[in-house]
């Protein structure tokens, strides 16, 4: 992407996103909202995996906990809705901290495997605890505040929250903290040797990723009016991971692109779930073979060294 073209592109994108519900039918507006919140979810995962280099294999759990936290607050607490929308993501961040403390001592793949295990534990609790979480039925007919309950209202709410969160994450990856976690991703030994407390930064990054994953979950409640345990099952974690890989995990907007492609494919190919995993598997294979840096990764140009390297 040319630097000079970026503002224009952004303006065009904003205008399109604002106009969508006015031109699209109801169902497509709903799909657009799902694309946005899934893109937020994938971008949040990428903080951990693409920017910090942590094998975050159970990210859907934070999405699910954000959603269930919000849903339970809305249906059972009698607290004002804005508090519910905050409690969900905070619960996700808290869980992320706890799981992070447990998993962070392990390296690489083992971190990911333990995270999947702990995530499955959370999933199992949600799946079984009928009296509290509704078990495998989930929770339906969640009361949403009037202003954002209509399809258009929920779309605009999703658009605004996603935009704010993505902007916040954009700022974060460009901050000193963002540079430090990228350093840790590249070379944790080197990072420690210049005085960076590697585990503390990794943990902070996990909490931030969990929080924004939780926000995506709270948006799902608004758009869908329901939650169900499958949204935190490990297979969905894998699907979000594929979105990052497809779009390019070493670019900021790659996961956004990847999420859009996968969600739209899933909806419009309107394929049976049985075939869906086949399609996902095919996409993953193709990406790994032909697009190791993802779709956006292809456009990244890195300055090369000058020819002569004299002193």
């Amino acid at each position: 992407m040319r630097r000079s073209a970026a503002p224009l592109l952004l303006l065009l994108l904003t205008a399109t996103l604002l106009a969508l519900p006015q031109i699209l039918p109801r169902f497509h507006t709903y799909v657009a909202a799902i694309v946005l919140l899934t893109a937020l979810l994938a971008t949040s995962l990428n903080l951990a995996i693409g920017y910090t280099g942590l094998y975050q294999f159970g990210h859907a759990v934070f999405y699910g906990v954000g959603a269930y936290g919000t849903a339970l607050m809305l249906t059972r607490s009698g607290m004002p809705a804005p508090i519910a929308f905050l409690v969900g993501p905070l619960a996700a961040a808290a869980l992320s901290l706890v799981m992070g403390v447990i998993c962070i001592r392990l390296s690489k793949l083992y971190f990911g495997m333990l995270q999947i295990s702990l995530g499955s534990l959370v999933w199992a609790v949600v799946y079984r605890w009928y009296s509290f979480t509704g078990g495998d039925d989930g929770i339906h007919g969640i009361p949403i505040p009037d202003a954002i309950a209509s399809p258009k209202g929920s779309y605009y709410y999703t658009l605004i929250v996603t935009a704010l969160c993505v902007f916040a994450m954009y700022r974060i990856v460009r901050s000193p903290f963002g540079k430090a976690i990228q350093g840790i991703r590249d070379n944790p030994v080197r990072a420690a040797a210049i005085g960076v407390d590697v585990k503390l930064h990794q943990l902070a990054s996990l909490v931030i990723a969990g929080f924004f994953g939780g926000v995506a979950g709270s948006l799902f409640v608004v758009v869908e009016n329901s939650v169900f345990p499958d949204m935190m099952f490990w297979t969905f974690s894998l699907e979000v991971l594929i979105m990052c890989l497809l779009g390019g995990m070493y670019t900021f907007f790659g996961p956004f692109v990847g999420a859009s492609v996968i969600v739209l494919l899933r909806v419009f190919a309107s394929i049976h779930t049985r075939y869906w995993s086949l399609i996902l598997g095919t996409i993953l294979t193709l990406v790994i073979i032909f697009l190791p840096d993802g779709v956006l990764g292809m456009f990244v140009r890195r300055p090369r060294p000058k020819e002569s390297t004299g002193a």
């Binding site: 901050s175 000193p176 070379n187 040797a193 210049i194 890195r302 390297t309 002193a311």
Partner: protein, 247 residues
């Protein structure tokens, strides 16, 4: 400044470092020499917290540092380079140095202020002093091998260390790169009075720049002294210098 006393480190019964003794005074350049596998790298890992000693003492400015985490050792004033260039490959040359400066300034938990332009003057000054200024925007993994090692020294310098430790700084360098690297080490010691501890197995280089030399064989210190003293030491001749055929 640094005092190492009877340090031992074994890997499953094999003593990689077996009774190493060493001291480094402020302002000195001290070299550790010894054949491959003598335990030089292991000793340096012990000094910088990448490994914990089994026994013995490592005192830096009078305080025990053995067994501390690497990032804590760095904050106490010791930074280092590694035998195999250890940089942040996906980041630019500028960013490599910038992270080190920001870390020293304890700014790495700032999450919303843009890093762009932060510490720019200092990063540029450091890059100029090591001769990498023109390459500042280059992806660091695209640098030549020699430039990577120099970049790593720049990263280590950015921590404003009191003691700089270099593990085979010229290993794998072309002759003219080696030349340049030696000039850099001399300059650092001369201009800023930096204390430097380094190791090499190429001994001709060592006699050239070190004030003092410690000879390590099979994990133990076998001799210590000025270049002349070490050259004369018979144990060294038989154990190391003779063996390598140099000198």
């Amino acid at each position: 400044m640094l005092r190492v006393e009877s340090v031992v480190k074994s890997f499953g019964g094999f003593k990689a470092v077996d009774g190493a003794n060493l001291h480094v005074n402020a302002g000195e350049i001290v070299a550790v020499i010894g054949p491959n596998g003598a335990g030089k790298t292991t000793l340096f890992h012990l000094l910088t917290g990448h490994l914990s000693p089994d026994s013995g003492r490592i005192l830096f400015k009078g305080k025990e540092i053995g067994g501390l985490s690497p990032h804590v050792v760095c904050r106490r004033g010791i930074t280092r380079s590694f035998q195999v260039a250890n940089i942040f490959p996906r980041l630019s040359v500028f960013e490599n140095v910038q992270i080190a400066v920001l870390s020293r300034e304890r700014k790495t938990f700032r999450i919303f202020s843009p890093a762009k332009g932060m510490a720019e003057e200092e990063v540029h000054r450091i890059l100029r002093s090591v001769g990498l200024f023109d390459q500042r925007d280059v992806g660091s993994d695209l640098l030549s091998h020699g430039d990577k090692k120099v970049l790593e020294i720049a990263v280590a310098l950015s921590g404003n260390p009191e003691l700089l430790i270099l593990d085979e700084p010229t290993a794998g360098m072309a002759p003219e790169e080696t030349e340049r690297c030696i000039r850099l080490i001399r300059k650092l010691s001369g201009e800023s009075g930096l204390t430097i501890l380094f190791c090499e197995h190429d001994i001709s280089l060592v006699f050239e720049i070190a004030n003092r030399i410690m000879v390590m064989v099979r994990g133990a210190t076998v001799a210590q002294g000025s270049g002349e003293e070490v050259r004369r030491n018979s144990e060294v001749r038989s154990a190391y210098l003779g063996e390598s055929g140099e000198c």
